[in-house]
């Protein structure tokens, strides 16, 4: 069964169209990735699904029921981890989760059990009495998640849950997401981080200017741009590099320099590796190694949207 069904969903803010006629579905057990640059419309789409924004046009079904008619049912079955931290800093972690979970009809011993379970799940089991105002960014993010899962939602919507935290907390969160998914929770996961989406998502939608411009598994998405190849050249020093000369070579679409690695995206049909190497030699740049990869998801994104995920 489809946990989520979205049909021709549109959201306008005045004349501005933030979400433009999107149609998609999420099946039970999926981790569905929502990939898009800043302002692409990810949060707006998610917020309509979670009944936080009014729908301008279109339909949303959660577990087969239209949310316009069965709002309460949809809300009971959805958990949302908002992009911005939504916790009470003057209440303990326990009280935070207890309060929010209590709004989902949980009572007494069951409520307490669920709160303890949720806090343990995000690794805050020993912090029941602590106040989040003293927490690190990562711990706050984890509490933000605990507040969303204590009522055991069928569909968990996570809006950039790993923004601005240390790698350790991020790994913990990614691990939790996978574990939740294994326990039967369907997840919609929004992120700026390509690696995260690549690592955990079973299916991905790329959203740009409010439209879904591509959707599928990683393999399917990469197949869209089989006409692209990535070349990575490690050099001793890229200081003397004249990027415009490289970009002028036939077939080369993009040249990026990261530290001592020159990353080139090029049409796969054109064999231009020799010319690239010749150019580097002419500029007196010492080559350490050369690699050719199949396109990454990042390349897919770049090619489709014409912009980089992160500004």
């Amino acid at each position: 069964m489809n946990v989520l069904e979205v049909k021709q969903l549109t959201k306008k803010f005045g004349d501005f169209i933030a979400v433009d006629n999107i149609t998609m579905s999420v099946k039970e057990g999926e981790i569905f990735g929502f990939l898009g640059a800043n302002g692409a419309g990810k949060s707006t789409a998610i917020n309509m699904i979670a009944s936080l924004l009014r729908v301008t046009k279109g339909e949303i079904e959660v577990l087969g029921k239209n949310i316009a008619k069965h709002g309460k049912f949809a809300k009971m079955n959805i958990g949302i981890v908002p992009q911005e931290m939504a916790i009470y800093e003057d209440m303990t972690t326990y009280e935070n989760v207890y309060f929010f979970a209590g709004l989902y009809g949980l009572r007494g011993a069951e409520l307490k059990e669920r709160v303890i379970e949720a806090l343990a799940f995000v690794g805050l089991g020993d912090k029941h009495k602590s106040y989040p105002k003293n927490f690190s960014g990562g711990m706050k993010r984890r509490l933000n998640i605990a507040c969303a899962i204590a009522h055991r939602p069928k569909l968990l919507i996570m809006d950039e849950p790993t923004v601005g935290i240390d790698p350790q907390s991020r790994n913990y969160i990614l691990g939790s997401v996978k574990k939740l998914n294994e326990m039967g929770c369907t997840i919609i996961y929004t992120s700026h981080y390509m690696e995260e989406v690549e690592e955990i998502c079973t299916r991905i939608a790329i959203i740009d200017h409010g439209k879904i411009i591509a959707e599928g598994t990683k393999g399917q998405l990469k197949a869209i741009i089989t006409n692209q190849k990535n070349i990575g050249i490690e050099v001793r020093s890229a200081e003397n590099l004249d990027r415009s000369k490289l970009a002028g070579i036939a077939g080369v679409n993009q040249v990026k320099v990261e530290d001592r690695i020159i990353k080139i995206t090029s049409d796969s049909e054109i064999n231009n590796l020799n010319r690239i190497i010749q150019q580097l030699m002419a500029d007196d740049i010492e080559i350490r190694s050369v690699e050719e990869h199949e396109p990454s998801l990042e390349t897919v994104f770049l090619t489709l949207t014409g912009r980089s995920l992160r500004d």
Partner: protein, 372 residues
């Protein structure tokens, strides 16, 4: 049930000892300072208390005149000064000019009392005393047809019938400085809850927790009502403690009908909360807080929180009557010192009426809005 949970969260403040101490100590401290520092002013002639009534006796009945003279003597002992006017004095004008609490004309057809609208309590007291006097006189007049001794007794206040005068004499108790400021600080403190209210819903928006509340299976109305109910309850509890502390620790006089006092105070809490909420919906962002703060301070200044405005005259009196604190303060004073419940009923009606309007505006705006 959800309303209850949301309300309960607001009451949490009470659990925080530091916050609680601050909330309770500040009004009590100001009460103590003003109540003791200004005692002299209250015993002087400027403030509430001095009741000077001008009278003109044109009655031809020697009986009535005799009783009236006795009565003036009795009243002087009770602190009500009845002063005979010279024939050509315009008593009503003198009252209008706030020179007297009231003016009485005694004619053969009875007593006419002209009250001073600016010193409500004193006027009320005087009026009830005169009512008692006329009642007794009527009774005595009837009795005297058969038994003039008993009539004299009635007028002297020894008769079994009608202890009205004695009640009225009790009512002539005047508020001391502590009595006055216990009331004034309590009502002012209540008005300050408008500040908390201005941030009640906006605070949820700022903290982004509004998102979570809205995502939960709770309606906007439930959130709204829950939060208001919580805040009203918190303030009711605090006020309860403040009033009882002032009563038993500072010996402030709150009258015989504490229940009704609380009822008036609770309607004022509702009014204050609605005021803050209403403005937080009409004005965006921090503007609401600033405007509410100005309103509170003006209301406090004009409404008699720092000095009694009962004796104010002219424009100041008119402006004072616009202060929501003035309604409640005057109503409480009248209720406590003159046993007059009409003022209390009016104040409650005003408080509730304004609350309904302000909450109506807030709810309409909230309904239109996405989010809270």
């Amino acid at each position: 049930m959800n309303i209850f949970r949301i309300a309960l969260k607001e009451i949490r403040v009470i659990r925080d000892p530091k916050m609680l101490l601050f909330l309770l100590v500040s009004p009590l401290l100001i009460m103590l300072i003003l109540g003791t520092a200004t005692t002299n002013a209250f015993n002087g002639s400027l403030t509430v208390g001095e009741i000077n009534v001008l009278y003109k006796n044109t009655s031809t009945s020697s009986e009535l005149s005799k009783y009236w003279d006795d009565f003036t003597g009795q009243m002087r002992q009770a602190g009500i000064h009845l002063e005979g006017a010279i024939d050509n004095t315009d008593g009503k004008l003198k009252v209008k000019n706030n020179l007297y609490t009231g003016y009485v004309e005694i004619t053969d057809s009875g007593l006419m009392y002209y009250a001073n609208s600016q010193s409500l309590i004193e006027s009320d007291i005087a009026q009830s005393v005169f009512t008692a006097f006329t009642d007794r006189y009527r009774l005595a007049a009837e009795v005297s047809e058969t038994d003039s001794k008993q009539a004299d007794a009635i007028m002297a206040g020894y008769g079994g019938a009608g202890y009205v005068v004695e009640e009225s004499l009790n009512a002539a108790r005047k508020p001391g400085a502590m009595d006055y400021f216990a009331i004034a600080m309590t009502t002012m403190f209540i008005l300050y809850s408008a500040m908390t209210a201005a941030d009640l819903i906006d605070g949820e928006r700022k903290r982004k927790t509004a998102v979570r509340l809205l995502a939960a299976p709770v309606t906007k109305m439930e959130i709204f009502i829950g939060k208001i109910a919580g805040l009203v309850m918190v303030n009711a509890i605090l006020i309860f403690v403040v009033v009882l502390t002032s009563k038993y620790m500072f010996n402030a006089y709150w009258g015989e009908n504490l229940g009704l006092v609380f009822l008036v105070l609770i309607t004022e809490i509702l009014f204050a909360v609605s005021l803050g909420l209403g403005f937080s919906y009409v004005l965006k962002g921090n503007a609401a807080g600033t405007v509410v703060m100005i309103i509170i301070q003006l209301a406090a200044f004009l409404g008699g929180s720092y000095y009694p405005v009962e004796d104010a005259t002219g424009i100041l009196a008119t402006i004072a009557s616009l202060s929501p604190l003035q309604w409640s303060n005057a109503a409480l004073l009248e209720m406590i010192y003159a046993d007059s419940f009409t003022a209390a009923a009016n104040a409650m009606l005003l408080n509730i009426g304004f609350s309904v309007v302000l909450l109506g505006i807030a709810i309409t705006m909230m309904r239109r809005r996405e989010g809270l």
